[in-house]
Amino acid sequence: MHQDYIRTAQAKGLLNRSVVIKHGLKNAAIPMVTILGVQANALLGGTIIVEQVFGMPGIGQLAVASVFTRDLPMIQGVVILAVFVAVLINLLVDISYGYFNPKVRPQ
């Protein structure tokens, strides 16, 4: 919040609200979104345990049950789905960099 462009925005007489949201928050979002992507991936794996603890019938329980019945095609399906979601999240994170900071958009 001590950047020149923040001071410029304030000097232009913009509302404090729009300075914070449009100039401050947008630039602060990039590291946030990076962490968000990493965490989302970790949590995607973590759901296996959480589903077991709270008895939620999700893909995590499906995966664990399939291990015990040695249902390999089902495991493959779960893994492909999970990896697809993980790659999608990473793609969205990468695309969002272009929105938050137009300077990194490919020319």
């Binding site: 991936n41 970790a42 995607l44 794996g45 973590g46 296996i48 345990i49 077991q52 603890v53 995966a63 664990v64 399939s66 291990v67 015990f68 040695r70 390999l72 495991i75 493959q76 779960v78 893994v79 999970a82 990896v83 993980a86 790659v87 990473n90």
Partner: protein
């Protein structure tokens, strides 16, 4: 050649002593190290110091809370939780060690080669690690266990595979910086073989960041083992690990919360201790790197 090895031999004991002195100054890391050493000793001495047989059933005293005769209470079959935890510590510690060793074996050699070779070899290895890192960690572990069958060794192979890309990247990054040093160029110019350069010039200079990663990953491996054993994919009965104890205890959470509290605490404290050791090592080594430059 002779002078180079002479100077490293002269420098290494004092560098080691400097490192030890700096490490010894860090209270938190020392506490962590002391805890892990004590735990390892207790685990080794489990048959002699455990007050009860970890497998002895006593159905008169099932699901009791902590008391003077049973420090951590008893489980659903009347077995002493404290004794079981001592024996489970062996499994948990060995499992963490196993996973880290597997990760090192898979990750370090290709990392070294990728860092030194560069070019196609490097980009191929990096794309392979990218692919491996795209998997959500536990999902991949479950998939590997599904192929190999549920057992502790297989679970630790899975965790080792999961941890290996980080070792590989770390090795690659440090090797690349060391490979551009003049002493490597000098060794190459006087006709040393590549394997000699790797083992004598590169490896000794890239291992220190590895140690930090090893102690942190021992904690991560222990957590992963706990998670997998909790799911029933790791340790198989009659063996027990802390994670497996939590997994069994969760069925009796209303009657005997102590069944999951004590193993859970043991996992948390041990992982924390391993992390503080990693932090201490990093601080002690980090300054070494800076003063050397």
């Amino acid at each position: 050649m002779k002078t180079a090895s002479d100077t490293t031999e002269q420098a290494s004991p004092s560098a080691l002593r400097r490192f030890l002195r700096r490490f010894a100054r860090q209270r938190l890391a020392l506490t962590g190290l002391a805890f892990v050493v004590l735990l390892a000793l207790a685990a080794l001495a489990a048959p002699w110091i455990a007050p009860y047989d970890p497998l002895a059933l006593n159905l008169d005293i099932v699901l009791q809370g902590p008391s003077a005769s049973h420090w951590f209470g008893t489980d659903e079959l009347g077995r002493d939780v404290f004794s079981r935890m001592l024996f489970a510590a062996r499994v948990s510690l060995l499992a963490a060690l196993q996973a880290v060793v597997i990760a090192l074996l898979i990750g370090v050699p290709p990392g070294l080669i990728a860092g030194l070779a560069g070019g196609y070899v490097d980009s191929f290895t990096m794309r392979a690690t990218d692919a491996l890192m795209a998997f959500p960690p536990l999902i991949l572990a479950v998939a590997i266990i599904a192929v190999l069958g549920p057992s502790l060794t297989n679970a630790m192979i899975a965790v080792g595979i999961l941890l290996s890309p980080t070792f590989l990247r770390l090795m690659r990054a440090t090797t690349m910086s060391v490979a551009s040093e003049t002493y490597v160029e000098a060794a190459r110019s006087i006709g040393c073989t590549e394997s000699w350069i790797i083992t004598r010039h590169v490896l000794p200079n890239v291992v220190s960041p590895l140690f930090v990663q090893i102690s942190v990953f021992a904690g991560v491996a222990m957590l992963a083992e706990a998670g997998l054993s909790f799911l029933g994919l790791g340790t198989q009965p009659p063996d027990s690990s802390w994670g497996a104890m939590v997994g069994r205890g969760i069925r009796y959470i209303d009657h005997a919360p102590s069944l999951i509290v004590f193993p859970g605490l043991a996992i948390a404290i041990t992982v924390l201790a391993l992390y503080t050791i990693g932090d201490g090592l990093r601080d002690a080594l980090g300054r070494e790197v800076r003063t050397e430059n």
